[in-house]
Symmetry: D3
Subunit: 323 residues, 6 copies
Amino acid sequence: MDIKLLKEINKNHLNCIVEVVALLVEVKVRTTKTEKQYADLIIQDTSKKMEVKYWEYEDNKQFFEGLGEATVVKIKGMVGEYQGQIQLTCKQIALLDSHEVRMADLIPTSDWGLDTLQKGLRYFYDKVEAPHLKSLLDQMIFTEEYYERFSTYPAARSVHHNFYHGLLQHVLEVLKFAYTVATTKKLTTRQQERLIVMCFLHDWAKIFEYKPLPTIGFTEEGTMLGHIFLGAHKSMNVMEEIEGFDHEDKLIILNGILGHHGKLEYGSPVLPKTVEAQILHHADCISGDIESILSFMTEQEESEETFTSKLWNMGTDYYKKGR
Amino acid sequence: MDIKLLKEINKNHLNCIVEVVALLVEVKVRTTKTEKQYADLIIQDTSKKMEVKYWEYEDNKQFFEGLGEATVVKIKGMVGEYQGQIQLTCKQIALLDSHEVRMADLIPTSDWGLDTLQKGLRYFYDKVEAPHLKSLLDQMIFTEEYYERFSTYPAARSVHHNFYHGLLQHVLEVLKFAYTVATTKKLTTRQQERLIVMCFLHDWAKIFEYKPLPTIGFTEEGTMLGHIFLGAHKSMNVMEEIEGFDHEDKLIILNGILGHHGKLEYGSPVLPKTVEAQILHHADCISGDIESILSFMTEQEESEETFTSKLWNMGTDYYKKGR
Amino acid sequence: MDIKLLKEINKNHLNCIVEVVALLVEVKVRTTKTEKQYADLIIQDTSKKMEVKYWEYEDNKQFFEGLGEATVVKIKGMVGEYQGQIQLTCKQIALLDSHEVRMADLIPTSDWGLDTLQKGLRYFYDKVEAPHLKSLLDQMIFTEEYYERFSTYPAARSVHHNFYHGLLQHVLEVLKFAYTVATTKKLTTRQQERLIVMCFLHDWAKIFEYKPLPTIGFTEEGTMLGHIFLGAHKSMNVMEEIEGFDHEDKLIILNGILGHHGKLEYGSPVLPKTVEAQILHHADCISGDIESILSFMTEQEESEETFTSKLWNMGTDYYKKGR
Amino acid sequence: MDIKLLKEINKNHLNCIVEVVALLVEVKVRTTKTEKQYADLIIQDTSKKMEVKYWEYEDNKQFFEGLGEATVVKIKGMVGEYQGQIQLTCKQIALLDSHEVRMADLIPTSDWGLDTLQKGLRYFYDKVEAPHLKSLLDQMIFTEEYYERFSTYPAARSVHHNFYHGLLQHVLEVLKFAYTVATTKKLTTRQQERLIVMCFLHDWAKIFEYKPLPTIGFTEEGTMLGHIFLGAHKSMNVMEEIEGFDHEDKLIILNGILGHHGKLEYGSPVLPKTVEAQILHHADCISGDIESILSFMTEQEESEETFTSKLWNMGTDYYKKGR
Amino acid sequence: MDIKLLKEINKNHLNCIVEVVALLVEVKVRTTKTEKQYADLIIQDTSKKMEVKYWEYEDNKQFFEGLGEATVVKIKGMVGEYQGQIQLTCKQIALLDSHEVRMADLIPTSDWGLDTLQKGLRYFYDKVEAPHLKSLLDQMIFTEEYYERFSTYPAARSVHHNFYHGLLQHVLEVLKFAYTVATTKKLTTRQQERLIVMCFLHDWAKIFEYKPLPTIGFTEEGTMLGHIFLGAHKSMNVMEEIEGFDHEDKLIILNGILGHHGKLEYGSPVLPKTVEAQILHHADCISGDIESILSFMTEQEESEETFTSKLWNMGTDYYKKGR
Amino acid sequence: MDIKLLKEINKNHLNCIVEVVALLVEVKVRTTKTEKQYADLIIQDTSKKMEVKYWEYEDNKQFFEGLGEATVVKIKGMVGEYQGQIQLTCKQIALLDSHEVRMADLIPTSDWGLDTLQKGLRYFYDKVEAPHLKSLLDQMIFTEEYYERFSTYPAARSVHHNFYHGLLQHVLEVLKFAYTVATTKKLTTRQQERLIVMCFLHDWAKIFEYKPLPTIGFTEEGTMLGHIFLGAHKSMNVMEEIEGFDHEDKLIILNGILGHHGKLEYGSPVLPKTVEAQILHHADCISGDIESILSFMTEQEESEETFTSKLWNMGTDYYKKGR
């Protein structure tokens, strides 16, 4: 049976065998009254979460040991129903290499489309003409070592852009907002190119601060050192290897990365000391705030209340009418 | 002698009679040792401040009584020098109706040009298609009663956009930034039109909060009630006279005006409760912050320091190299 | 059987039919094992909450559709007992117009008595002699359009004066405290009259910010615009229709309404700019704080602890001994 | 010549000898070109400050040694004029015992009149009937040891009630405000009596925290320990000597004294834990705030501005019209 | 059977009678279906908590009335098992005088050992040579009245040093840290001795602020007045009874006690005004912070996470690797 | 004449020629009435500031061009007096290489002595036994490239340790305080060694953040990037070049450097995440606070007041008696 999404499984499939590909996000081992162990699994894709019973757990313990926090599995199982909910009884379970599946089917993904995202990236990259700046972007982003991560990581753990390609979409938003300000306020070409580079790099180190999706969480390095330090550290090292990298550009770009949270109390160890750095900070804020409001309102669309509940990072509730 | 700007008067004119048009910004009455009163005047235009001696003060006291805080005068005077500074001895002084002079010659003025500003305004006005919103803009802005003020007032007393056409330029910047965000984040047409209206109106009441240029300062109404209240108050009254004004639009636009300072502690009595209101708040911030940095750096261009002094509203100094 | 309050129903009435008037505050529709729908109702008056079973729900669905959030009903029912609690089985249920009942029987009500409250109001009203101020009070309060609401609404959603006639009692407290300060500090008559007017009007717009009791909650207008703006807005419109309303009085009274929360971070868009406004702010604080402590201590009277739990708006616990 | 106030000395007295009684507030020793020492004195009374030349300084050095910070002197001198200002040349100078003069002539004094102040004190004292509370007041206030100080000290160094009898007037204001709240909110008699005692005692230790007028400043004890600790310390010692002093009253009154600044950040080591303590805190605030606004407005009455300058402790300027 | 610690009771004792000494920390009275009352007790020692059934409750009610919050009992009972947990059925229960048991067996206790603690105390006591300071310590600490409490009380209710001898250990840590700073920074002998005294006394009044262990909680006096006031109050009284107690030492030591929380918002009514007071404040902070981190990490040692959960008083999580 | 310190020059030298070595800290070019340029110089050493007239400025302009901010000069001049102050008239002026003078004669210097400081450094260095940690210290501190700077730079621009060898003394204080805490709290050897390394490195990058003494001020790099980032950046690079540098040690040491300001609002981009990092933060605070109080009190020793003026970074005044 050709099942693409978990939500496609319905009562018509009762007692049929189906095969699904999904994320295995929870394994709870339980004991029957006869002291036999079995497992309650939870699997999910973008469409739904579903419970799976796995009675052969005892025979297959070693499969579950050493599983990462969120793994892609292929499950063959019998469709059943329990308290009105569709649930599977697992017959076979196997790991899938994450390259065999489209991540976008399994976890929330940017709705801009990878193609649009990549075109946008190229559009701004092409605006940078100074060779040392171009070289900096080449080595930090458009290189085999980092590009895969940079173009798939999320930009936050929760609240905003916490989805596949999230970092990419966020960077692009920041670029668009910042560039509009830069041209409106007639910054020099040098300032504009520098600002573009700063937008590209400001959250770069989130690719080391977060664990790769579908896992959600910080790395040890991320918690102990943070993306602000890690990004400026790597950028400085790359700059120093580019021959003749302009000293003022170096200081300004590094200050921009260090200062992009805008205030010490938000984790920037220095304040933005240039107009470019201040624009970057504002563009970053807007991208985060607006996305978090929009995704929160989507989440709460179905409740009947006139206002959403309080969105914690914004400190207020939102009016749901009038759209 | 054909003098256009005060700075054109130099040592070559010593002992010549010149005629200048300038703002009279200070009148200090003094007494000679022989107990005769005379006046030390200060006049200014965009190029310079200059001292003027007026020995015939006693014969002409009534001229000075009842002068406003900053008046346009035509002065015929003899060029002299005192402690290395050019100074005038006034022979004749006369009021000039402010319509007889180009304000841009006398006070700092937006460098965008009125034409550009007006085209920008029209560009965004044309994007608003909903008749009730168009009607609101017509009655608040594009009406004889307010247009003159709206298009000439400053947007702040100091720090940013504190110049002729300053409000107009600020509103246009806010519109550009907000509109870029709105389209990037794919807001609905209804949201976009509402946002444009909110940008137009958010600082509208500054035309009552400030005294008209060249005077710089608050009106009594401005200090006691503030432009946030005054703008929402007037907007609500106009909305209620427009037949069938959509109730949700009304609440959202008024909340946007009331909430555009973004936080209670910045003087907004309510928080922004919609995504439009939040975008307006951010766009307003950026326009103010970036203009205040840029104009401050221009002011300090000539000092030899690597960094500016501390810009009080931003809480930091700025790096002057690299532009 | 003549039942006045729910708490009068006791085990002596078991299996009797009683008739009660109460607020219907919750309707939960449930399904029996035989798939028949019935309703679990909760009703309450000032004395008690009580559960009511309504087995005929399916036959009477349309009665429950379109019910407001808290409605007055007359119920005829059989007294039963379940797990030690008295409960009714509903035989008949009917809506009651809220005018047919004394609200004070159904919801918490000021213990000052309406008569006392109204005398107090009159006492201070009579102290205002300036015709334009008297006229302002006449049109804002002593008019058919608003008096009913003004004299019955609560002054807060929770914490203090959140009961029937709460706004009235709060206004009267504020008047008493403010007037004592004004006379002690020898304010001029003009200042005193203005202060009285400001006390009357400061929370006026709570009659639009809150839903009418017994419902507890904000209106859309209330959440989006707030009582501070709404009150000043309405007051300004009324003042402008009163011929020759003194301009200084207008600014001072409006500033007092706008500033009565005392600080920007508490939602006042401008600070109190006169001694009257500052007195109003303090009197408002005291009335709220003291009532919230007293009602909280009453609530916790029965616990055996020496101290109350922490009262969230005051940030501390209170000592219960020594009264 | 019968001079009562310094401001009475005018040009008509030029070259006459006058005798004045005033505070000597500054002594600057200077040297003439011939290396002879003389003194420039400044004296003041409630009406004016005046300069006095004292040429015989060298012959009279020991008079000036050991003078306190502000001493009452009788000066016989010749009236002169210097740069348009009346000034004296001292012929004789002598100390005056502070009991020989009416302090109210020399330093700013409460305009309530001592009689009114004392009647007020008595009025509230008489409301306290519980013997242990009466005894506490008797020993802390109505005793030879402290009464003189308590009835003449100021209540602050600047901003409010910083005048002769200032503490007395402040205590009376606090009593009036607090008592109005207590009766309006129907506190028990026990609570009311306790509240009266707390009002009497809350600032009691200012008589040890400040130096006696006309000196203005803190004692060492005052700076190191503060009136909050000193007052509670003394009160606790007195209570413990009163036989059978109620334990709850003791805790509540001491908590009231310790907590009367209302928040930890204002110097209270504990928060107000009773309704009486919270009333005391508010009444104390109002008395201070309102007096500081009123006296500041009086000070600035003569400037032509519509608004005062900013009053630092209140954080804002005040509107001067409309009184 | 010789049971020392609750954790020694295991399945081997099933159905045996054991005798244990433990703290009785909870008594819940319940009713059987046959309406007979029995009690569910909870007892604990440092090793474990355990449930105890007491069926003869009705016959022995008076035993439980008037029990304090945590009492030492000797229980003879039958070992049973319920849902996999060892539990006792009580046969006999009796109070034990707290002097009959070693508290360290029943509640968490400093792991420094009483001997080490006392030697440390003596070490610093011996450094104080000035007789009036020695006398102050003698009367406040080394006196029968207080020594027992001072050497057994905890230093906090939770977070840090909340164990038997906790205050003693905390005082010793503060002494060590402060003394290192004092000698490194070359303070005078007089300053060093004073600092030692201040360290000894700063938290002295915790012996009145807290209830004695094993009870955990504040006394009424503690909540209403706090240890900062109580400690300075007592110290001042003792100082005033010591003949010729140096006045400067008195002010400095009292300021040190009052100021040891370092900031007004942390409950100090005055700021530290000497270098000794500032050192005391820092040493107190470190002792508290470091102990709270260490004990929190010990608590969370067994979880598998790389980081602890968030430690509320420090506002962050801690890295558990690398020790 | 053998002059060592400027303060040795007195009235006995009037009209003599002296030779002095001092810092040239100010050059003001002035013009005589005859339009000739001359220079007013200010020179200083640790003992005094002194004015110097240099009449031959016009002949020697090129000498002054290109002088750094504070240069060591040898001046031969005539001793004169002006308005009671000793002043020189310069006859000859010459640059001195800073290696020809003992800096300690010219600028304030640690009073611990270089020998003591170096011994202290060695003492703690020897406690580190882990080879990778030792290697880190060797490359960061005990290397020709950095040791000179590390051992002479100040630790702050003002307030504390702003003198020659200031950084060295500060690091040593931090080591002493931190080590006392670590041993008292029984940290493991591994933790102790890591803590020592963190103390050594925490302010390391001040040698790039500040300009070298006698100049006082930030470098561009210092203002734009800050010593927190620069220090962690360099340390991370060095660690990565040390083969097999323990990963946990790396994270913990870098977190310690990044977190040593203790709170985000003080410029740390991450919080201290280990007990070592928290100890470092406290030890750093104490060293800075106590030194700033002590040096401030020394500065104000001579004023007659009982209290110092307010020390801005501590927010209070200090009691000067009792030492």
